[in-house]
Amino acid sequence: MKLSKLVIAAAVVAAGASSMTTSAFAQAKEQFFPLLSYRTGPYAPNGVPWANGKQDYIKMINARDGGINGVKLTFEECETGYATDRGVECYERLKGKPGVSLFDPQATGITFALTEKAPVDKIPLMTLGYGLSVAQDGQAFKWNFPFMGSYWTGADILIQHIGKTAGGLDKLKGKKIALVYHDSPFGKEPIPLLQERARMHGFELQMLPVTAPGVEQKATWLQVRQSRPDYVLLWGWGVMNSTALKEAQATGFPRDKLYGVWWAGAEPDVRDVGEGAKGYHALALNGYGTQSKVIQDILKNVHDKGQGTGPKDEVGSVLYTRGVIIQMLAVEAVRRAQERFGKGKVMTGEQVRWGMENLALDQKKLDALGFKDLMRPLSTSCADHMGSTWARVHTWDGKKFNFSSDWYQADEQILKPMVKAGADKYLADKKMTRRDAADCQS
């Protein structure tokens, strides 16, 4: 051999390296959205529609409005495979692009790693419905934005709903609730809140961890069969959800006593189980379907022109719509920032952060944006980086999900002290202090 081959190999590598550096200097005057996603691996069934929704909304804004006040939107996707180290690599690759706005890491593990890096690079993180629950406290976490809800609000709403169906929260006394969770930060985050609720209402909380990625659950469901909990909360993602539903069916655990978080309540989770998942409840963070104006606009401006990402019949599914909402919030944050820092300009990460912190989307505005019935109003502030905690429950009838409850809001009285205590502990560990009033204005 082989020297000649080695030389060729070296040349190929060198060419690759140079293409990396040149692409970093392309284009300016465009707002760039780095899209971290996973289209491969055990979480792909849920990661794909989410990523498609984000992309399609950007394409739609460009096609329908010509960007944000004339600023064109660009994006680049980077495959993380849900792995933290690849996610960090993607972040490092995309953070230096001109016009970079904000990151949606799309995975709790990556969020934890980026939480340390974002303040240094001055790029905000949006973690809609996931990530660090204590990051709701914007005075401690300047760069994190868990919009619309966290694992704590989700767990709180689930307990409220179970209490309501049982005829009052006091009826939960002496009951047994099992938590079947993904054994990772994603699955463990809700535990403190559930423990707090268990203390308040006197129910017994049983923890049943499932090793990632969650395809092996036989032992867990054997425990469920043994201890016969009154309710099971399902805290899964990707293949874990459909596996859990199949196991519940095999175990004979009544599916209508099974409650999933909003990451366990989308079509890919139940479609394969079909009739076997009939009666399964899950939280719905957002509305869905093809009726709303924004989805119609996407179909008209993107998919009908053959530029859609992914299959057309998945447009309007639960996670697709969530992707659209995430991207809409990102776009609105940029728009809000432009109102203060100059319309028609490309916003920096710091300016977008201000926009995220001062979002005010009331019902009128949501209707105008075409998000009627897809979400509830949201308004953020320096103290509250979440903006709203609304969610409702939907139930699978064997073919599709139907809403089966009214909107709930997480109980502020339980949440607030927990968020404050958690943020204080974080600040103490890091030897940092809360942001003062002046910092909130900036």
């Binding site: 051999m1 080695l6 293409s19 690599e89 490092e92 593990g109 934890f112 930060p185 463990k188």
Partner: protein, 358 residues
Amino acid sequence: MLYRENGQFKTSYRADQAIFPIAQDRIAIALMLAVAFLVVPMLASDYIFRAILIPFVIMALAALGVNILVGYCGQISLGSGAFMAVGAYGAYNFFVRIPGLPLIPALILGGLCATFFGILFGLPSLRVKGLYLAVATLAAQFFSDWMFLRIKWFTNNSDSGSVSVNNLQVFGMPIESATSKYIFCLAVLVVVALLAKNLVRGSVGREWMAIRDMDVAAAVIGIRPMYAKLSAFAVSSFIIGMAGALWAFVHLGAWEPAAFSVEVSFRLLFMVIIGGLGSIMGGFFGAAFIVVLPIVLNQFLPALVGMFGIEISTAGVSHAELMIFGALIVWFLIVEPHGLAKLWSTAKQKLRLWPFPH
């Protein structure tokens, strides 16, 4: 022609036993170090540092540790990820429980935790070998996964099991910028590699290699298998533990037990097999192959197919990356079963005789 040792006479045992007996090698290594420490920091961008060079340097350190155990002492281990995790969490616990602890003592203390853990799980090696030992060390991996997920004390009572560090400093200098992180990791790697190289050249290394080649014969000529095997486990897991602490502290900043899953163990084993068993150089080659190549492929493929006017989706790139990577592994192992380090030494051997092949 350039790479020839004619005229270089060794007149003492000292000169004959030098690490790099050929003058050209010494110059090459000095140049390489100069490039790595001086030229690279001037040229490389933030991305190259944080996404490619730092992971490469840290994984090369871990591969070096694995190579001592697997390559030099012949004890197959699937628990390397666990040793990394013990190093990382050990260093973390010292770091948060002793206020103001600088980075270097934390690293060393983390490495010592891993040493203890390594010796503990190296004990089965006294009775079993080969595949049986591989399975026994796999137990270390599962044990550490369980331990760091379940025992809250190790994660400083973190609710989610995720921990993070900041305010890293060495001799009062903060390790925050990409360049300082890179230089620090590289310095650790160079020091450890030099120590390891001398260790494997010395009597301890010879004992390890004797055990690897035939343990019964080694015992007959007076080598104590227990001492040799356990010292290999100790040294190896100390190095791997330090690498784990660097990976967690310097590269990730915040991590969860999944960062040191069984997949990391496999990747480390692949690194030493592809890089070259029983070679310090092999660890570097293997780490480059396993850490850097997928990232390069991932970015190079869209540009490549773009030249032919084809657009490839993110998923497509990811699938192609895995396929090409797998094919390359198979190809390399067929062409040279002894790994990239052997290719390197073959090339050197040929250069010595060039232009006359015989």
